[in-house]
Amino acid sequence: MNRYIILALFLQSCAVIQPSEAPKILKTLILGADKIDVSKSFYDEMEYSFANVRIGRLASAILVLSSVDNDLYTWLGPNKERIITQDGKVLYTSGLQHNINYLEFTSIDNYEYKSSYMLELLDPSAIIEVELEYLISKSKVIENFYSPVLDWRGENLYFINESGKTYKSIQYYHPMAPKITIDFYFK
């Protein structure tokens, strides 16, 4: 709905919009932000491993792998975004509109199909307990999460390639943020 308000404002104001800007603004409002198409040439040009991150419809960016430490992958974005993942799961973010920090976690390999974790929510700040339950197949991990105190529940997906690495994840990382979709490209 918010989109239509913006669209109305846009139409009301066309007399002052520059021609080069109008299609971009309209397209973003109607269709969402441009999907970053990772073509073979794009992949080849990238020097380091990277992640194509899309949050909801309106934000997308390429984050570059900056370090790997004990299975923790740190990805950095062009506007000082920082995301730490483990086996594709987002454990820490900064520089996003809403951010999180997992205070206790294990890797997916060690899961006993059910766990609970303390999750620090930022923007606004709070600490909640999150219960996780896993359904694991060869190609996909389904992670059902539930926070009793917030009555916040959902399903996260992790897609695994033949070598056991997560190449794509679709997660709800913060109760006030839309889902985050990450495609991982390792080099």
Partner: protein, 721 residues
């Protein structure tokens, strides 16, 4: 045991709302709206406010009323709103051929001001008035106190006017006898502000509570004790109240009202209520808090990097000409257009123009970024002269080292210490590189546009969607023809039929004829402008052609605006002729001379800009127009205006005097790309002929605004955007 459980449940429910986890348990905590369109309980007001810079629209159906409200929060302590009410038990007029089935439309303004800010122990306390400067059929004043305790938001208050059901003795009458009796003035054109009767007459008491439900996305229940005297509101008894009224309003069976609010997100909420013991109401509210700088849509518009920067630097170091050409090319890729350039020892001076970045400092930052990547190392500073219509507005000298050193950590405050801003005078001969421009040059675009007629007597909204052809032909750097032609795609103007009853020259009230006759095709503007900056701080504009939808002519403007001052003085004079309703370049017989002395002043703390125009208006009435507006960090501007001229209330007609409000909403906050585009929205309760001002394009105050020293100082945070 049960008692203990009850206490525990109560304590859990009373967890303070604004702490940590509760932001998630009770999201979308923004205050909700009453059936009168403003923030409040159900029928009763509250002492709640949105954050400053918020705009909202509210639609409520509550028989016999359908109400549309536009709300603005120019300060965190002030709520101003415009109410448009369709009254379904009354005809628009007693002339059947004119009214048809059209029901009565009432327009008015409400205002609420906070006296005490809520604290740990004190409630928020506010006073307010409904239906001021309207027909006063909903007129009421109140003082309300609201206090959040746990997830209960309590409100109590006293009401006057329509809110005085209890008929208690007015405590203010102990102070002055004038408050004891409320008088009614029937000899009015409506639209007057009757300060003499506010808070007078008997008093009613109201109270209520809003209960936030946990984990239900901010949903809440409302209960209130209503002090509305429904025998005073609107046209309560049908024809016995008003000759056009044909049906009485349901009177109250109960003074307790119940309601529920469901916020879909931070912008949209739905509400429903059961009022008076016999009436169901429902509505929807939209809001946007657009004052802060944070964009609604994240920006995806980083500076374009210069590929092979080191190679470019090596080449530009060989000869200045190479540097100029590289600057021309790479700045253009960042939408900054080099006009002239010169290297003087270790300084590169670039005169540029740009129409993309919303602030000059942002353009300076982007230009410095590009120049740092292409200039040889011996260049130590960049002097960036901002040109608009070939007039120099400002000069910003950036220390290259300071710019680069503070870039990675966005330490713009530190960098700004090494950046010098000053006024500028453009002298072409000062530049060694003057790229040739081939004139005339034409720019054009096709874009959809909307014309809106809101709050008129024929209906709340009339509009047409059009395809507009906007063109600008530059004959030289300071002479341009700007035009807009448009063709209609869809409109709902069939129901627009109100004819002017004005006894003044019809300079605005023939709006319906203009709208209807240009449904298929219209020329909004074809205005030739010539700008000049003959001496420092003095700017001039000469214009001729079709200046706006209703007038064409010739005239000009002079503005004195010191670079570092927060005031400006200007004059404008126009000889204009009224345009034909249909034929784009034909004129009607009415012609006049209109002109003003303009005084602008911006108060530095509140950021309120006052514009006073004194002179002769289009209908040949003389007087003053006062315009107050406030600019927010995002660029949003909220303003209101009124005019006092030498015509009588009877000559002015319904509304008594000209007044209204407007918003200028920067589209930059919704765009993934940086843009200077603004969406303008203005509203007058009534379109009348008195105090009408010519709407010529590109007034000098606006043209010079981006280059003012105070505005540059304001925007340092844009340096590394």
């Amino acid at each position: 045991m049960i008692k203990n459980i009850n206490i525990t449940v109560f304590l859990i429910l009373c967890i303070p709302l604004h702490a940590g986890i509760n932001d998630y348990i009770y999201p979308h905590q923004d205050p909700s709206y009453s059936n009168y369109g403003t923030l409040g309980l159900i029928q009763m007001p509250s002492a709640r406010f949105h954050e400053e810079g918020t705009l909202a629209f509210n639609w409520i159906k509550s028989e016999p009323y359908v109400r549309g409200s536009i709300l603005a929060y120019p300060f965190e302590w002030m709520e101003a709103s415009y109410q448009y009410t369709d009254i379904n038990n009354t005809l628009y007029s007693d002339v059947q051929s004119f009214s048809g089935n059209q029901t009565y439309k009432d327009k008015g303004f409400d205002i609420k001001i906070r006296l005490v800010k809520e604290s740990q122990f004190l409630p928020s306390i506010a006073i307010g008035a409904r239906d001021i400067a309207g027909t006063n059929i909903f007129e009421a004043e109140y003082i309300a106190a609201s206090k959040l305790i746990g997830n209960f938001d309590f409100t109590v208050g006293l009401g006057w006017g329509v809110l005085s059901q209890d008929k208690f003795y007015n405590p203010l009458a102990y102070i002055a006898d004038e408050f004891e009796v409320r008088t009614t003035n029937t000899d009015t054109q409506g639209g007057e502000v009757s300060l003499g009767k506010i808070f007078s007459g008997s008093v009613g008491i109201f109270a209520g509570v809003e209960y936030y439900l946990p984990n239900l996305y901010g949903a809440r229940l409302k209960l209130e004790y209503d002090s509305t005297d429904y025998t005073k509101e609107g046209f309560p008894f049908g024809r016995d109240s008003f000759i056009f009224s044909f049906k009485p309003v349901k009177q109250s069976d109960s003074r307790f009202n119940f309601g529920i609010v469901y916020p879909m997100n931070d912008s949209i909420s739905f509400n429903a209520s059961f009022i008076k013991g016999n009436t169901v109401s429902f509505g929807v509210a939209l809001k946007g808090s657009w004052g802060p700088k944070d964009p609604v849509i994240p920006k995806n518009d980083p500076a374009q990097r210069v590929p092979n920067s080191e190679v470019v630097k090596e080449i530009t170091g060989r000869e200045d000409e190479y540097l100029y050409r590289a600057a021309l090319l790479y700045l253009r890729e960042n939408n900054i257009f080099l006009q002239n350039a010169a290297v003087d020892n270790d300084q590169l001076t670039v005169a540029y123009s740009q129409s993309k970045y919303p602030s000059t400092i942002m353009a300076v930052g982007r230009a410095s970024n590009v120049l740092d990547e292409i200039t040889p190392e011996h260049i130590k500073s960049f002097k960036l002269v901002h040109l608009n219509a070939n007039m120099a507005l400002s000069s910003v000298t950036v220390s290259r080292d300071a710019y680069v050193r503070n870039k990675d950590f966005n330490l713009y405050q530190v960098a700004s210490q090494s950046i010098e801003i000053e006024s500028a005078k453009f002298i072409k001969d000062d530049y060694k590189y003057n790229p040739r421009n081939d004139f005339p040059r034409a720019f054009w675009k096709l874009a959809p546009t909307i014309r809106s007629q809101i709050g008129g007597p024929d209906g709340f909204y009339f509009g047409d969607l059009r395809l507009a052809f906007n063109a600008e032909i530059l004959f030289s750097k300071n002479i341009a023809l700007v035009s807009q032609l448009s063709a209609g795609i869809y409109d709902n103007f069939d129901e627009l039929k109100l004819k002017s009853d004005s006894i003044l020259p019809h300079v605005r009230t023939d709006i319906v004829d203009y709208l209807k006759n240009t449904r298929s095709f219209g020329v909004k503007r074809a205005q030739l402008n010539m700008f000049n900056n003959p001496i420092p701080n003095v700017y001039t504009k000469l214009s001729a052609g079709i200046l706006e939808e209703m007038f064409g002519g010739i005239g000009g403007e002079v503005l004195y605006r010191n670079f570092d001052s927060n005031y400006a003085i200007g004059m404008e004079l126009w000889k204009v002729k009224q345009r034909d309703f249909r034929i784009p370049f034909r004129f009607r017989s009415y012609e006049t001379t209109t002109g003003f002395v303009n005084f602008y002043y911006t108060e530095p703390v509140s950021k309120i800009t006052l514009l006073v125009k004194g002179g002769r208006f289009l209908a040949e009435d003389s007087g003053f127009n006062f315009d107050f507006s406030r600019r927010f960090a995002s660029g949003l501007r909220i303003g209101a205006f009124f005019s006092l001229t030498d015509i009588s209330e009877a000559e002015f007609g319904e509304g008594s005097f000209d007044k209204g409000f407007y918003f200028h909403i920067p589209l930059n906050i919704f765009s993934p790309q940086h843009t200077k585009a603004m969406s303008g929205f203005g509203l007058r309760p009534l379109t009348r002929d008195g105090a009408a001002i010519l709407n010529h394009a590109y007034n000098l105050y606006g043209v010079t605004e981006p280059g003012q020293g105070l505005n540059l100082e304001r925007d340092w945070s844009d340096l590394y955007e």
